[in-house]
Symmetry: C2
Subunit: 189 residues, 2 copies
């Protein structure tokens, strides 16, 4: 496992404009939150950095376009969900999967072996109350300082926005669904 930037142990002599890991949040009701996270992962991978992607709302067997390319590139994409929807019969099972998934992701972040860890759609289990927000915030605060973490999903909690370095809100101006155009293979999946 490669360590891209060793943790800084000499903070008093490091200038303010240091390079360090960031917490990046993509939120809002618009498109592009996860897609931009994949773009960040692509860019970091292109710089030779170790990247891992956790997807809280995708099943492990998801084979969308991005899964196929990341597999080809050797970037692990780990589906943690069970295809949850509001019609799910077993929400407690979904909640348990989210907690188990978070335990994996937290261990990866704290281990410091990755330049970037993506927590795709983690806002959903946070909003549903399946994951304690404080546990996520504590992990981000206490992580090795070289680790970049990207969190996506609607409705980012205010405490997370406060902690984050960069927060982008993707706002829906218009969407082709509204005009009766269905999901397009290669665009939405």
């Amino acid at each position: 496992m490669e360590i891209e930037h060793p943790p800084l142990n000499h903070e008093r002599i490091v200038p303010k404009a240091e390079r360090r890991g960031l917490v990046l949040v993509h939120t809002g009701d618009g498109k592009g939150k996860s897609t931009a996270a994949f773009g960040l992962a692509l860019r970091a991978h292109g710089r030779g950095k170790a990247v891992r992607i956790y997807q809280f709302m995708k099943v492990p067997s998801a084979r969308f376009g991005e899964h196929r390319v990341f597999e080809q590139l050797g970037v692990p994409v780990i589906g943690l969900g069970d295809g949850f929807s509001w019609k799910s019969k077993d929400l407690e099972h979904s909640a348990q999967l989210a907690r188990d998934g978070w335990a994996q992701a937290e261990a990866t972040i704290r281990a410091g072996e990755h330049f970037m860890v993506v927590l795709d759609e983690i806002m959903y289990p946070l909003r549903y109350g399946w994951l304690p927000l404080e546990s996520v915030l504590a992990c981000l605060r206490e992580r090795p300082s070289h680790v970049n973490v990207v969190l996506t999903g609607r409705g980012a909690p205010a405490e997370l926005v406060e902690l984050a370095d960069t927060v982008t809100e993707m706002t829906l101006v218009k969407h082709h669904y509204q005009a009766g155009v269905p999901a397009q293979r290669g665009i939405e999946d």
Copy 2:
């Protein structure tokens, strides 16, 4: 060259919910406009679709993380700019490059051999008056209907928003530059 979806020549019998190419716009002052476009290109490539990326504000020799990965994947990324900045000494040269670049991109869109064509940061030459908006709108209107076009950049013109199928505004909520943290290799380039 592969043609993913032949142009539809039987519009009257196609149900409204057809699959067809979309015009997607990423605009606003926030991060993620280009990055999400790269994510879309990645996804389409992962579905075996032909993709081409034109970058209006990048030099042909740009070697950011995304260029390295797309090269590895065999997706052409074509820098059309000259590293323009407001300090440029020769804006007419920049304008000519933009026009030449647009001629290339327009020919690619109209040829219909690509599932997706990305026009990254095309809003800049449009805003600077280097490209006539009507020429871009006409190309989008008249393109083969299976071609998806993704346009990025701040300040999308109202006529383009009107024509587009899906428009996302990326809004800056907060940014690490504001806290004195500089651009990070593997994150911003």
